[in-house]
Symmetry: D2
Subunit: 367 residues, 4 copies
């Protein structure tokens, strides 16, 4: 209830602080028999891990994940899976001077007020370091969804500050440090980031995730709609301030005759809905967009107060990403995988018999 568990049937419970001994988690509810090894998790952890390019924090973490339980002779057993990543590159002394000051735009103030004390080293639990375990858990969900249902989940950077990026070629996303699928814009991104770093400032970003081959029928009506749970998952990622499904905020200006996706015997003729109708997956691609704020950990001085309510100026040292949105791409993929996996098991629990029926429509027209 203190919010460190995600999901209902397929759950991920996490622990760990930025500068503690280790971070870790428990994945519960994974079906038995899934072929799984540490390398399956490491792939996505390596995509998220810091210190891999000049655009991310200089902190270097191997982020080497260990599976401690729940796998026997290369297969999941149906019991809970413990995962652990040791912290190796903590430099807590970087943070001693912000012990008594609240960084504006940070969780410092709200944690202090909520709990009466806080682990100020690197933001403690509020650090995005915690998301490594989400990526580990999401990798298990991803593998199951791919192996069993053929679902493919791909994220990409769709905007960085003023630079809009098209998903021209999704196969590009793993070939550059920006998770960019728009090859023509790589040069512009590089130049923008160089100048940004020089200025000591940070920038917002937009990230998109697409899940293809999602079966019809996932999601529960009313409160736990598939899109509602996706929104919960995505808004729960550090720095996210907005979530859209399909056309998102553009629907405000659309007419009904324009918005509804026509259905044809060969499939849906468009995908403004983003793959969800009435809270339930439609067989169209599930399309999600998120807005990530610029990090407040910048070297540009800012006005703030200290723990006694006195005015103070803050300059964040330490090692930080100038655009936290970039590394959010694998995190967003992981969260979407967790939601789909959970809803798949929930659906199977309530509707096992129905599950096997062939959908009336074959899915997207484009496939």
């Amino acid at each position: 209830m203190a919010g460190n568990t995600f999901g209902k049937l397929f759950t991920l419970t996490t622990f760990g602080e930025s500068h503690g001994t280790a971070i870790g988690g428990v994945i519960d509810g994974c079906p038995p028999g899934l072929a799984l090894c540490e390398a399956d998790l490491q792939v996505d952890l390596d995509r998220r891990k810091p210190g891999t390019s000049r655009y991310t924090t200089a902190r270097r973490e191997a982020d080497e994940v260990k599976i401690l339980s729940g796998v026997f002779e290369g297969r999941t057993t149906g019991t809970s899976i413990g995962v652990l990543i040791e912290n190796t590159d903590q430099r807590s002394k970087d943070y001693s001077d912000i012990k008594d000051i609240f960084r504006p735009g940070h969780a410092d103030y709200t944690y202090q007020q909520k709990y009466g004390l806080r682990d100020y080293r690197g933001g403690g639990r509020s650090s995005a370091r915690e998301t490594a375990i989400r990526v580990a858990g999401g990798a298990i969900a991803k593998k199951y969804l791919r192996d069993s249902l053929g679902i493919e989940i791909t994220g990409y950077l769709s905007q960085l500050g003023p630079i809009e990026l098209e998903p021209k070629d999704l196969s590009l996303t793993n070939t550059n440090a920006f998770f960019c699928a728009d090859g023509d814009k790589l040069e512009a991104l590089d130049q923008y980031m160089r100048e940004l770093k020089k200025s000591g400032d940070s920038i917002g970003a937009k990230v998109s995730v697409v899940a293809r081959h999602v079966p019809v029928g996932l999601g529960e009506p009313v409160f736990d709609r598939l899109d509602a749970d996706i929104a919960h998952a995505m808004m729960g990622i550090n720095a996210v301030k907005g979530v859209e499904i399909g056309d998102g905020f553009a629907v405000v200006g659309q007419k009904g005759s324009e918005h509804r996706d026509a259905m044809t015997p060969r499939g849906f003729a468009s995908n403004r809905a983003g793959g969800v109708l009435g809270g339930i997956s439609s067989g169209q691609d599930v399309v999600v967009h998120l807005a990530l704020k610029p990090t407040s950990s910048i070297s540009v001085p800012g006005a703030s107060v200290d723990v006694h309510g006195q005015a103070a100026e803050v300059v964040t040292k330490g090692r930080h990403d100038p655009c936290v949105g970039i590394r959010a791409v694998p995190i967003a993929e992981a969260m979407l995988a967790l939601v789909l996996m959970d809803h798949y098991l929930r659906h199977r629990g309530q509707n096992a018999g129905v599950m096997s029926s062939t959908p009336v429509l074959p899915g997207n027209l484009s496939e």
Copy 2:
């Protein structure tokens, strides 16, 4: 787990279809001793109910709510509160001709695929009629939050199709059928809706909700952040396709030095964060925006398929709102109240001792 319960400590469980005997729900976890009567719920139900203006569906429902339990001698007892609203104006025959056809943009197709059968009368459980019970449950939360903590929750229409609306005077929202706080635009809204109705089409909308005087400290780090749970609540409202907290998608183009809200001894100097930092309420106003799609229940013919996968043309008769976004205003208020109430109880459970501490900052500068 089938998703008809909302919340963890303060929960709302609902049931009921558009054209069934009745809709109802159970509110569990309400603290004892709250002064409560049916009129407290009816106020918001009347704001949401259909048939009150020419801009909404012609269906006429008294939406008279009965409290069946949990209240004794005018006060809540701490036990579960049962609420019931009878359906009185069902015209099921309106729907018999869409029994075997999927309306494009509707839940018809996804329900049929998920469950193998569906109550097609008025959309059954997928109808927004179900939200009346959310409004009833939200009214209880609202009353507790207002009476005990001084929290005020106000929603308003912030855009209707092309017409953007400013929150110039929130006291106006209950004086017009649009929940509009921008008096100068009422004429334009009226004219737009007349023409829309004539065309048989529908239009999208944007709704905003603000909660003032929220104490610092509500929300759990990591997955159940206050903003994540708000996103879950709002994206779970029928027709919602996007949710923003504070500056929302505008943060994509912002720099860190611009985005972070400066903290001063007299309070926050701005509110780009929308009242949430690190997933926890900051004492600033909580500000939420939602995008609602245009309803697909329109008389403009649309291409679709029938239950056998054959091509079919659909014209929706029945009685429908040309802009479902309008009546979403009290629903969005209710959902925000449910989230804040739940998180208040969760916070009190874990942090009772801390709760009483005075916040370092007095809240918004503007107050």
Copy 3:
């Protein structure tokens, strides 16, 4: 979280007080397509309802249940099922004289201390009247389990005060007012109860429930074992003070070589385990026993205190069962059905593929 919801995938949420307008509940997670009508629920409600024999309270309630949602054209739709029973024979004036006194052995004192106020009419929410809705919800689970899996759940009275009763013929249980399967003891029971009523006192009882044809594999290791959830369900029935699975407390004196049920190619050779091994159903009959205390609502005067802590003598008037254990039989059946149903759906969610495999053993040898 305030505890009025039972189950995780198949849930029952209830509301209602002894002397309120109505009692009711919501069943969520019922698979679609189950043939269901009100008569299916009424059968068990009639078995539990008061006023049917001289051995139960004189309160007369029709306990006529209405299904308000979730069923369309005779089949469940997969959406939440609302049920309602109106209270018709309340005599609240019977209770006004115990408004300020705590009946010893009752929930009066603990409710008052927990909530600061209480609905004293007939015990309010602490009345066993609430269990009618459990029986209604359990009837749905029972029907699904019987129709889909062939599971049969039968309860019987196994002891009333000093009179031990053997399950000689389970078909007898519905032919007498005691749910007694031991025909030779009916006369003794009748005589015992006559004398008891005369004395104004009450008596404890033991109730047993058996589920036959339970598939192997239901239940989760560690915390949510099948037997743990059964214990939770049974100890949650009013007046229950003890729960046993299989041999129960007799195992204390058993040796390992004696206790373990031998496995043979034709099935288990005995059933000391009561159908559960390692928290998971074994295919043997699931056997549960519960101990129910004598009700404290008796006309024998008792020492107590009033709300001011002053000494007071209590004589309970009103209408009460001299042996609440008797009517607990259908309630215990309902609770066992709810647990099995929930675990069946949970198992199906996590292990759909495994489910279809043929068990190595055919179940009980005796079948």
Copy 4:
């Protein structure tokens, strides 16, 4: 939902197999500010750990616990607490010969059927080794309950096979290997166990736990009663087949006039209720008894089948406790602590204002 999480507001999620790399868990919802270090957990772990006397398994595990997160500068921070214990003395080869045979009375068969595969080394997840993490989590709850509320939780062995043990002096329990509070019986216990070991058999036991100074008001009416949640917790301990609250099964033969605990201005005159009335703590001592079956891991040969359903004889080698009930004492204490802690937070969440009120009665008369 796969059942590896216990509790609702104060939760413990565990992972780990008998012969895996490590076992561990996450404690979520612990209030901030609690003074806590590893030694606080180690005390109870040392009481439970194997290899400490001739009456327990010869497996030697240091059971050295590490706290990985959630504690900063000696105090809990309110974030999730990760704990880890490495397995050091695994001898997996002991088990290779039971790989394809089901030990009668074990979880071997049910795990295989449920999941389609199993980690057969030492019982995998079904091993009581997993309970070490329950003890670690329970130690945190215990410390909070003691430090903040003065609650004392003490367990003791109340019967071993035929030898009944009285709680003559609870301070004795930590001075002997039996957790026995009946000094006169130590010799008899020792002799019984020597003979039992010689025979290669095992024996059942009864364990009791008492919580003193529990405040009035903990527990939720209806399903999540305090006693129902205690039953869930206790029946979830390996080998438990029965649970009693207060007088337990003895109530079957009691009359109402005899059972109800008289209330006097100085407190309750007796404690047949075991500290719970209407599912809510009464301020009396909470008294719980559990029956533990004899382990089936014995060297006496037993009839069974192999994975192909063929008859087989089983002799368990490996290292096992001849009476698993003994080491269950600290586990039962831990589980009671977890339940009380969870319900304390739940109560505080819903009833913070009420909490501070002075109870009408001072508690047990005897105090």
